[in-house]
């Protein structure tokens, strides 16, 4: 369970406050979606949870399974079960995708006091999981994300998620830059990972991803806060009417 309480965040280098008191609880096995206009703080929330530099938490907490995330290094958060699928996955020339995956899997196992996977065990698992995501052997051998299409990069993110088996998955605009077929493939990959012990936080601009990854709860974020929470119907409402009405209810007309 992810429990975020009264989270306030500003940029480290500037006096710009981005999150102004986020409260959010994602129960085990649930899929929550966060929607909101540009600049509402959605991506910042994902980065702060994952531990990216450049942000300063001024107030509040974020616990995963009762452990305070905000005190941890990014790699410790990962070992604790947090995973962030990047909006723009990073290219790392000269490091094979397979080497990267194995290093990550074994680093996490080591941090948790588990046996590291042998080369054989790892290979067997990665091949099986790659196959369901239509990731071929060639893509596994290539350097991390180098020369990958937008769809391949996002599938590679989901493969990492499948291999790392996190408790809490954050998907930051995973649908951006994807055509319908690629989006379906990614969504199928995510749905296959849905499990009673695993939660998801899906950040998106559009309803269309939520047609494929059905959320239990939808939140609307604006001006650094969650201003409205509802069921899947809330996403449809946004799709039809835009954010203007909801923002107006909260006196935030100028934000869009």
């Amino acid at each position: 369970m992810l429990e975020i309480k009264n989270l306030h965040v500003k940029l480290e280098e500037e006096d710009k406050v981005i999150l102004k008191g986020v409260d959010l609880t994602v129960e085990d096995g649930k899929v929550h979606a966060i929607m909101g206009p540009n600049g509402s703080g959605k991506s910042t929330l994902s980065y702060v949870l994952a531990g990216r530099d450049g942000y300063e938490v001024t107030e509040g907490s974020a616990e995963l399974g009762g452990e305070e995330l905000l005190e941890m290094e990014p790699e410790e958060r990962a070992a604790a079960g947090l995973f962030l699928a990047f909006q723009y996955p990073v290219e790392i020339p000269g490091v094979g995708n397979m080497t990267f995956l194995r290093t990550a899997v074994n680093a996490q196992r080591k941090a948790r006091g588990q046996e590291e996977l042998t080369a054989g065990e790892f290979l067997k698992e990665v091949r099986a999981k790659a196959k369901t995501l239509k990731i071929d052997a060639e893509m596994l051998k290539r350097p991390v994300n180098v020369g990958f299409s937008g769809g391949e990069k996002k599938r590679n993110e989901i493969l990492q998620m499948a291999m790392l088996e996190p408790k809490m998955c954050i998907l930051d605009e995973t649908d951006s830059g994807l055509d319908v077929d690629a989006m379906r493939l990614v969504a199928d990959g995510v749905n296959a990972l849905r499990d009673a012990g695993r939660s998801f936080l899906v950040i998106t601009h559009y309803q269309r991803l939520l047609d494929h990854i059905k959320p239990d709860v939808v939140h609307i974020m604006a001006d650094g806060r969650i201003i409205k929470t509802g069921g899947p119907e809330l996403a449809l409402e946004v799709e039809q009417n835009g954010y203007a009405d909801i923002l107006a209810e909260h006196g935030l007309e100028g934000v869009v």
């Binding site: 994952a50 531990g51 990216r52 530099d53 290094e73 990014p74 790699e75 958060r77 990962a78 070992a79 995973f83 962030l84 990047f86 996955p89 990073v90 790392i92 020339p93 000269g94 490091v95 080497t99 990267f100 290093t103 990550a104 899997v105 680093a107 996490q108 941090a111 350097p143 990492q160 790392l164």
Partner: protein
């Protein structure tokens, strides 16, 4: 000469040497000596030595440098089936070396009194040609005074690589070695070099790559922190031939590696690459790659790929030039020099140059200096990779282009292991 009178540095240096006499190389030595006296030794004011102070390299006597203990590390190339030729402080070690016999290859030594007609035409020849347009006095000194080296003539496909192994034992040794390698048409050879050689080292390798021949060179310069070395490669590359050289340099107070490549035949390929790792915390680190590639024929390709990883006040230098002569049309010349600075104390000095006298060519050069990419670092850490391990992966990622220049996968893996081991030893 009175004690107070200031002696000419060239004469002071020569006084400390005994120039071998007689033999096939005698005329070339005499000419080199005349060249050296005319040029003088390099000094701080020489444009070509602007970024690298040659004082320790030109001094009459070398600074005292104890041999370095590599600990229990397996020597590089140990797993490779190769013919070993060992020099200890510049002196040939017959007991440690293999028999100098290899099918398709003739191997002799410079110090053996023999009249080798092919070597007479090569010894000092490419070095002399390489003295224009830029003077290289340390190479002329080498030709004049080298005490030993190997003379290799390849007529076929060498069955295994030749490994020149240099061992540093004496803290005052000052070896000068000169190798000549001639590949006849269609021949192929891989030369491996490793080890620090002496307290101070001056080495020249002249390589004549005949038509359609293929020459591969992979070098690991040893881990001596107190290494002071100046090396030159002079290569002449004929039509349809391939020349490839890669150097790994880790540590070393002062290393200057010059590579002068003359592409004289059509459709030839010449690649030269280097990866340098320097940590000023283990003593000073100064590493200089100076490269000069001349295109004098049609449709030739050259690549210069140099990368340096620097920390704790280490200094890296790159001077690289591509000269395309008139008529050398369809030349494809590429040059990249990059440094990764792991802290704010280190520096990289680069002078990339292009000089082109043909109108239908494609040449590019680039040089960058940067720190570890924070976004990539976060990406790796967010996957659970600890920060030290993540930095190591990103350094290997940075150096990957240079390693790619090694064709043989076993050699590539061996060099990569050395890089990883160095990074593991230098995590702070």
């Amino acid at each position: 000469m009175s004690a107070v009178e200031k002696q000419n540095p060239v004469e002071a240096r020569l006084d400390a040497l005994t120039i071998p006499e007689g033999g096939f190389a005698a005329p070339a030595r005499a000419e080199a000596l005349a060249r050296l006296r005319a040029m003088g030794l390099p000094g701080r004011r020489d444009e070509y030595w602007k970024y690298t102070n040659p004082a320790d390299l030109v001094a009459a006597m070398p600074p005292v440098a104890p041999a370095f203990d590599n600990g229990d590390e397996t020597p590089v190339f140990d797993a490779i089936d190769r013919l070993k030729i060992v020099f200890v402080d510049g002196v040939f070690d017959a007991a440690a070396s293999d028999d100098l016999t290899l099918a398709g290859v003739e191997i002799a030594r410079l110090a053996e009194p023999a009249d080798i007609s092919w070597a007479g035409g090569l010894y000092g020849k490419l070095e002399a040609d390489g003295q224009t347009p830029v003077a290289r006095p340390m190479a002329a000194l080498n030709t004049a005074a080298a005490t030993d080296g190997v003379l290799i003539r390849v007529t076929g496909q060498a069955a295994r690589p030749i490994n020149l192994i240099y061992v540093h034992s004496s803290e005052t040794s000052d070896p000068i070695l000169h190798h000549c390698i001639k590949l006849e048409a269609g021949a192929e050879l891989t030369v491996l070099e490793n080890g620090p050689a002496g307290a101070r080292f001056n080495k020249v390798m002249e390589v004549d790559v005949g038509e359609g021949a293929r020459f591969h060179h992979v070098r690991a310069q040893g881990r001596d922190h107190q290494r002071r070395a100046v090396t030159h490669i002079f290569a002449r590359v004929a039509a349809n031939a391939l020349f490839k050289s890669f150097t790994l340099t880790a540590n070393g107070v002062l290393t200057r590696n010059e590579c002068v490549i003359d592409i004289v035949g059509d459709d030839a390929v010449a690649h030269v690459a280097g990866a340098a790792l320097g940590d000023g915390a283990t003593g000073a680190f100064h590493h200089d790659d100076t490269v000069f590639v001349t295109h004098g024929a049609l449709r030739c390709e050259s690549r210069q790929v140099f990368k340096k990883v620097l920390k704790h006040g280490a200094t890296g230098v790159f001077q690289g030039k591509i000269l395309v002569k008139e008529g050398a049309q369809k030349t494809d010349g590429y040059q990249i020099s990059q440094s990764l600075l792991l802290d704010d104390d280190s520096q990289f000095l680069a002078k990339p140059e292009l000089e082109i006298y043909a109108d239908d060519v494609q040449c590019s050069h680039g040089s960058t200096t940067g720190a570890i990419d924070e976004t990539a670092l976060f990406y790796l850490r967010s996957r659970g990779v600890p920060v030290d391990e993540a930095i190591k992966l990103l350094v290997l990622s940075f150096l990957a282009d240079t390693i790619e220049e090694i064709e043989d996968e076993r050699l590539r893996d061996d060099i990569t292991e050395r890089l990883e081991a160095w990074l593991n030893r230098h995590q702070d």
